[in-house]
């Protein structure tokens, strides 16, 4: 969120810039420096006499000049391979595996066959989904996809390095910082010594790679080798972060997806410690890792993307997703780390936030203001000032004296509220949570393992709950019970902030690495997953408070592999500048491809005061991003939409209304994500895997398969240039989303006056919409639908809708859902049919939504007659110039089977 009183000094140097010197460079992290400087193969070889395999597992010993390591290869279902490299049995200390970050059981599929040759092994994974070749000396692993194409290599450059646990010996020389390390005035005692790990992974044949969220940088990963700092993945509370930068931010997923024409491949580094990734895209084999390349690669001119992963602790635990398509990779990642439950409808509508709404009266006025100006809004948020002295689960005694009444007032208009709940617990014996946690021993401990760790955060001196302790998770979850969290109701949801964790008084504004968690785990081993453990406990509490009935909404700032299973995340404390608006798109794409789909950036920019143009453009972009929330720092001016000019207010209203129009589509996309892993907001190459010129595009993005969005993100722009992909067969048609007028594929100059959001519908798609925009989304659930059909070259289109009660888990527990598929087919020049079909017979939900209107785009001629399922002649209107057909009141229900016939 932000820091005020504590970092006065930081703000006084008011250059609106991060204090770089507060954060480590690779050179200042001694393990990173050691790994990054490896220039020759570290010399590991597989001891073939140790190779054993059975079922889905193969093990072997690696021998190197430094030490011996054990290798374990596991074949997983769905085209996934897991490779672990650890110290052999009998190591001084067990390395931490963040299993909790995974979605649950990782299903193993026995190998089809293992061939042992003189100097390599070939492992044929189950169902011919993948193949792995392990070379004996030097140690090298080749991964092939199901089409038998080499896609990934491990240790091609020989950077494998594992610093094994050892006893400190007097007189022995150790590398710099091995037993003790200092940064600024902070000392990190390293009682177990350095246990860092690193290895290089290459995507063979791939020029472009994406992921490694979250960095305020382009979507397409840059080359960092010999070119500045590697990507740093270490969850931090970074004050006023900078753009075009590989510095660490709040949330990180050590995951890369590489893409080339028609092929994608994914790679996950399952490690919760601080990780650095040194990257390089090279056009030919004379790249970073040339030594090994000549041997293994026949085609000298092949591009490749190399990534050297280096982590401070943990083991080498690698997941390979072989694709072959982006959709496949996304599904493989989803199977590994899980998906976001379908959010309740209000959560994907518009959120109104500010640090802070001052009191209950203020909340009531904001609530009324949206009605007065007829602007839809679903959630009002309360930041830290709502509490009594920053003690979470409490309310300010005078400003928020009757919280239940306040929430009920907001809820009476169909809206919800969110309060902030952070993981730092004010040190105050009279504060129940602190006392309980102290009594039960639920706090993180100092390096001595017994004293509670103490640091400064919003309340001043605070202690930090240890969410690795099962009792802490249990205790925490209980706090959300309605009788425990006084003033809460089922209309109150939660925001978990500062969970990197942020410790104002700590090194790099976070927790000391030698702090101790449950089971004697050092903080350094688990740092990046602290926030995820926290949100998972909160989520559990939110689910349990209604005995599993209601779907909760939870927002988190920190994030890691698996965060998506319990929380949405946002890009943290951005700034009201055009660059930050511009970078919201690549930052959200990074997260989306890495498996976290419910993501957003603070609309308007958190720090500073946006001018009206910037604010309006930000609303327009935000309306087409998954999590849509306006938020502002306490030092900024008020920003409720009606405080601006008529033009700006109307523009904001229109942008929000566009969002509400598309809610049935967004909702369906979140269900699609839940089923397949596909993120609602996706890069263009996910939908157009052959349009090479658009692989690195990160101003435009797709929302689902149907809409291409190119919001205006440049100051004073009155038009945008956007390339509409032509698709594999160069025949994709496009339509302006608002007007329905056709647009040619290829480069388009599109007028974008202040009120315009450039959005395009892809030919061949059907988008379900709501055209009756009410003051809150929950009030629209039962409203009739308008289907927007855009025809492709063959006069065909298809689409779907997912419906349920949009607020409970009945869809899951009682199969109370409905999926309908729509299609438009031109059967002959004389006839076309529009059909609706109930598509999943398991679904028991009977929607009351009927189809009030069908708009068809790209209809070549005026129909002579339109006949409904029931044989009625339906009125229609046809616009010859724009080739638009509008069918009046077909009247069929979304969940039923129906056919409309068009005669020409």
């Amino acid at each position: 969120m932000r820091r005020e009183t504590w970092l006065l000094a930081a703000v006084l140097v008011f250059a609106m810039a991060v204090k770089r010197e507060d954060f480590k460079t690779c050179d200042q992290a001694t393990f990173c420096k050691r790994h990054r400087s490896i220039s020759e193969n570290t010399g590991y070889a597989v001891d073939f006499s140790t190779v054993q395999h059975s079922g889905a597992i193969l093990t072997a010993t690696l021998k190197g000049p430094e030490n011996e390591l054990s290798l374990k290869l596991t074949g997983l279902d769905g085209g996934r391979v897991r490779l672990q490299i650890d110290e052999p049995a009998g190591a001084l200390r067990k390395r931490f595996i963040p299993e909790f970050a995974l979605s649950g059981v990782q299903y193993e599929v026995p190998f089809d066959k293992v061939d042992v040759q003189s100097d390599y092994l070939t492992i044929h994974c189950g169902g011919s989904k993948a193949k792995v070749v392990i070379h004996q000396k030097p140690f090298l692993v080749d991964i092939y996809n199901g089409l038998n194409e080499l896609v990934t290599q491990v240790n091609a450059a020989g950077k494998l390095k594992v610093e094994h646990f050892r006893a400190k010996m007097d007189g022995q020389e150790y590398p710099e910082g091995f037993w003790d390390e200092s940064f600024k005035h902070f000392r990190d005692s390293k009682p177990f010594g350095s246990s860092s790990v690193g290895v290089d992974v290459s995507f063979v044949g791939f020029r472009h790679a994406f992921g490694l969220p979250s960095h305020a940088d382009a979507f397409s990963l840059r080359s960092t080798v010999n070119n500045g700092e590697p990507y740093r993945l270490f969850n931090l509370d970074v004050f006023e972060y900078e753009l075009d930068n590989t510095m660490a931010l709040y949330a990180h997923v050590p995951y890369i997806i590489a893409h080339k024409k028609q092929r994608s491949v994914g790679f996950l580094w399952l490690n919760a410690a601080e990780t650095w990734v040194d990257t390089r895209s090279s056009e030919d084999s004379k790249g970073m890792f040339r030594t090994m390349l000549n041997k293994v690669m026949a085609d000298e001119s092949q591009p490749r993307f190399d990534a050297h992963f280096m982590a401070e602790a943990g083991l080498i635990d690698l997941f390979f997703f072989v694709g072959p398509s982006s959709q496949d990779v996304q599904k493989q990642m989803a199977e590994t780390s899980g998906v976001t439950p379908i959010p309740p409808l209000f959560a994907i509508a518009y959120h109104q936030c500010r640090w802070n709404y001052n009191d209950e009266q203020d909340v009531a006025q904001v609530n009324a203001g949206f009605d007065e100006w007829d602007i839809p809004m679903d959630v009002i948020w309360l930041d830290i000032e709502h509490t009594d002295g920053k003690k979470y689960f409490t309310w300010h005694p005078t400003k928020f004296a009757t919280p239940k009444k306040m929430i009920e007032g907001v809820a009476s208009k169909g809206r919800k509220m969110v309060t902030i709940i952070d993981p730092h617990i004010k040190r105050d014996d009279s504060y129940r949570v602190n006392k309980d946690a102290k009594d039960l021993g639920l706090f993180v401990k100092k390096a001595d393992g017994t004293t509670d760790f103490e640091g400064h955060c919003w309340p001043g001196s605070s202690e930090y709950l240890d969410f690795f302790h099962p009792k802490t998770r249990e205790y925490w979850a209980q706090q959300f019970a309605f009788d425990r969290y006084e003033g809460s109701t089922r209309d109150l949801h939660t925001w978990n902030d500062m969970n990197e964790p942020s410790v104002f008084s700590g090194p790099e504004v976070t927790m000391d690495r030698d702090a101790i968690h449950y089971g004697g785990i050092e903080h350094r081993e688990v740092h990046n997953m602290y926030g995820m453990m926290y949100t998972s406990a909160t989520y559990k509490g939110l689910v349990e408070r209604t005995a599993g009935k209601d779907r909760p909404f939870l927002l988190s700032r920190a994030g890691f592999i698996g965060t998506q299973r319990t929380a949405a995340i946002w890009t943290g404390d951005n700034t009201a500048e055009w660059g930050h608006l511009r970078y919201s798109v690549p930052m959200l794409l990074q997260l989306s491809v890495a498996g976290i789909p419910f993501v957003g950036a603070d609309v308007g920019g958190f720090f500073g005061n946006p001018d009206e143009q910037l604010l309006l453009r930000w609303y327009q972009a935000g309306a087409y991003q998954p999590f849509f929330r306006a938020h502002a720092h306490i030092d900024t001016r008020r920003r409720e939409p009606w405080l601006f000019s008529d033009e700006t207010r109307e523009g904001i209203r229109d942008a929000i209304r566009q969002r509400y129009t598309l809610l049935p589509y967004w909702y369906t996309l979140f269900q699609e994500h839940n089923a397949t892993g596909m993120p609602p907001m996706r890069p263009i190459f996910y939908e157009f895997p052959s349009d090479e010129a658009l692989f690195t595009e990160d101003k435009a993005h797709m929302v689902g398969e149907a809409l291409l969005v190119r919001a205006v993100v440049d100051k004073d722009a009155t038009s945008v240039e956007v390339t509409l992909p032509s698709g594999e067969n160069k025949d994709t048609l496009w339509y302006d989303w608002e007007s329905g007028v056709e647009r040619p594929a290829g480069l388009n100059h599109v007028d974008a006056p202040l009120q315009k959001i450039p959005v395009f519908q892809r030919g061949g798609t059907i988008v379900p919409t709501w055209q009756r925009i009410r003051r809150a989304a929950s009030l629209m659930k039962e409203d009739p639908l308008t289907l927007i059909i855009a025809l492709d070259k063959n006069g065909a289109a298809k689409g779907r809708i997912y419906l349920d009660d949009m607020e409970t888990f009945d869809y899951k527990n009682l199969n109370n859902f409905c999926i309908s598929e729509f299609s438009y087919a031109t059967n002959s020049p004389k006839e076309a049919k529009i059909t609706g079909k109930h598509a999943d017979s398991n679904g028991a939900f009977k929607p009351v939504n009927w189809v009030e209107r069908i708009e068809v785009r790209g209809v070549p001629s005026e129909p002579s007659k339109v006949i409904s399922s029931r044989g009625l002649t339906l009125p229609f209107a046809y616009d010859r110039d724009a080739r638009l057909l509008s069918i009046r009141k077909p009247g069929d229900f979304a969940g039923e089977d129906w056919t409309i016939t068009l005669n020409f």
Partner: protein
């Protein structure tokens, strides 16, 4: 009251039957049952049975007054017993009761009770309560207006004589100012001349001393001071190692190779004296405890300047010069003497100037005082104190409001202030900048701006919302955004006559 209510009820009941749902009686003529309905914007004609058929045909939404089908439509609640109103069509059948008569939820399954009578009653009571306040306030306002007018008149009356008096004085003042300037000039010229003469004399003496010292230092008497001359002179053995090494010697030559008499006088003499004195002081220190002289010398030098002074000591070192020195080359270095008193003729000029200045000042301050009085009076005349000048009474008064931690103070037409309750300091929340209410309610809001700068924020400002009240009081203070305050101020000056209401602006 009861009768008019019944009348209203009867009226609407009669007409409602013929009207499509959601249409006000005033628009009944557009919705007469016929074969066709013409959209109110004239853009389209549709079959009449498509009115309120839950499908939006008209671009202006006029065909669906009773359903939620049109995104830009509106629904009319009759609200018998209370105020009728339009609501956006999107609030029809959204399961939330918007109309007090419940008519908006006719098909959502939600039973909305008709609460118009209670609401109407409550509103009427509230209005009556307000009217009582307004009536009392209105009476006070009349009084304020009278006083306000008096204040205005008073000031109007004042301005003329004050201006006349001032204009009378101005020529005298200008005359006296000229005289003051002339005597000032005469005094200055005479003094400058005298001082210049004295300085010339003094410099001549100084030159003689300088030449003497030069000769003494020029050990080899070659008319030049070189390193050798210093190297052989034990006085310059600063570090007392028995030797005057090149570094030591060089510092005395101030980085030139050699110096003739001219150069010595211009660049070195003053500094060398200082240096010699320092050496002398040191010697004395060793012999006796520190005396006054050293303390004085220390005081004259800022700690930081010490080093610099050694090289660049100029005129103000003279005050140090009168200290005796036993070091031979410097021992005859004595005061050049201080400037003698100004002679009588100059002293006369001085007293003439002083007299002229006093005379001018007396008249000038009278003029300034008149200017201030005129300004004050004009401020009253130019200030917008409302249509009847009732607000003029409030200028010069202050009103306070106490909160937990702070006391807020409003001084109308002047400033807004925040005081810490147990503290002394005041924070200015803005100075009056004007009326900012939107017409026709201009006098319902004032702005106070350019207050104290907020840390990491804007300059504080305060918006004052003005309401009718029986007495003048500050009743509320809040800070909707950081450093943007909002006060609510009640005053009879904002009360209108409730028994003679302004023309009603219907929201229809």
């Amino acid at each position: 009251m009861l009768r008019s209510l019944l009348l209203l009820l009867g009226f609407t009941v009669v007409c409602a039957a013929d009207l499509p749902r959601g249409v006000p009686i005033t628009e009944s003529s557009f919705y007469k049952v016929a074969k066709e309905f013409k959209c109110l914007d004239g853009s389209l004609k549709i079959p009449f049975d498509q009115v309120n058929d839950d499908y939006c045909d008209c671009p202006d939404g006029s065909d669906e007054p009773g359903t939620s089908a049109c995104p830009n439509g509106r629904f009319f609640c009759t609200n018998d017993g209370h105020s009728s109103m339009f609501i956006p069509s999107s609030r029809v059948n959204d399961k939330i009761c918007d109309c007090c008569d419940g008519s908006d939820e006719w098909g959502s399954g939600v039973q909305c009770p008709n609460i118009c009578h209670e609401l109407g009653k409550a509103t009427r009571e509230e209005n009556e309560r307000k009217a009582v306040v307004a009536r009392k306030g209105w009476a006070v306002r009349q009084e304020m207006a009278r006083k306000g007018k008096d204040i205005k008149t008073e000031n109007e009356v004042k301005v003329g004589p004050l201006t006349a008096e001032r204009d009378d004085l101005v020529p005298t003042r200008d005359e006296l100012e000229k005289k003051k300037k002339a005597t000032e000039e005469a005094e200055r010229t005479a003094k400058d001349e005298f001082r210049k003469k004295w300085e010339d004399e003094r410099n001549q003496r100084k030159r003689v001393k300088s030449d003497e010292m030069f000769t003494q230092l020029d050990l080899n008497a070659d008319g030049k001071l070189t390193l050798d001359d210093f190297a052989n002179n034990p006085i310059f053995d600063v570090n007392k190692d028995g030797l005057v090494d090149e570094t030591e010697a060089k510092t005395f030559l101030f980085n030139t190779e050699e110096a003739d008499k001219e150069h010595f006088y211009a660049q070195m003499f003053d500094s060398i004296k200082i240096r010699l004195r320092a050496i002398e002081d040191e010697k004395r220190d060793e012999e006796t405890d520190r005396g006054e002289d050293d303390l004085l010398a220390d005081e004259n030098k800022d700690a930081e300047e010490v080093e610099e002074d050694e090289y660049e000591e100029t005129e103000d070192s003279e005050s140090d010069e009168d200290k005796h020195l036993d070091v031979p080359p410097a021992n005859d270095d004595e005061e050049y003497g201080t400037m003698p008193d100004y002679p009588e003729e100059i002293k006369t000029l001085s007293s003439e100037h002083e007299k002229a200045r006093e005379e001018w000042q007396e008249v000038n301050s009278k003029v300034s005082d008149l200017d201030r009085q005129i300004n004050d009076a004009e401020a009253y005349l130019n200030q917008d104190f409302g249509n009847d000048a009732a607000w003029a009474v409030l200028k010069g008064q202050c009103f306070e409001y106490n909160e937990d931690q702070y006391t807020y103070k409003l001084c109308p037409f002047d400033k807004a202030v925040q005081k810490e309750k147990n503290g002394y300091s005041e924070t200015r929340l803005g100075d009056f900048t004007g009326w900012t209410g939107k017409e026709p309610r201009k006098y319902s809001e004032q702005m106070y701006e350019k207050g104290q700068q907020c840390w990491n924020g804007p300059q504080r400002s305060t918006k004052v919302i003005i309401e009718c009240g029986e007495i003048d009081e500050l009743v509320e203070s809040s800070e909707p955004a950081k450093c943007e305050y909002q006060f609510v101020f009640r005053t009879p000056a904002a009360c209108n006559n409730p028994d003679q209401p302004e023309p009603v602006h219907t929201e229809l």
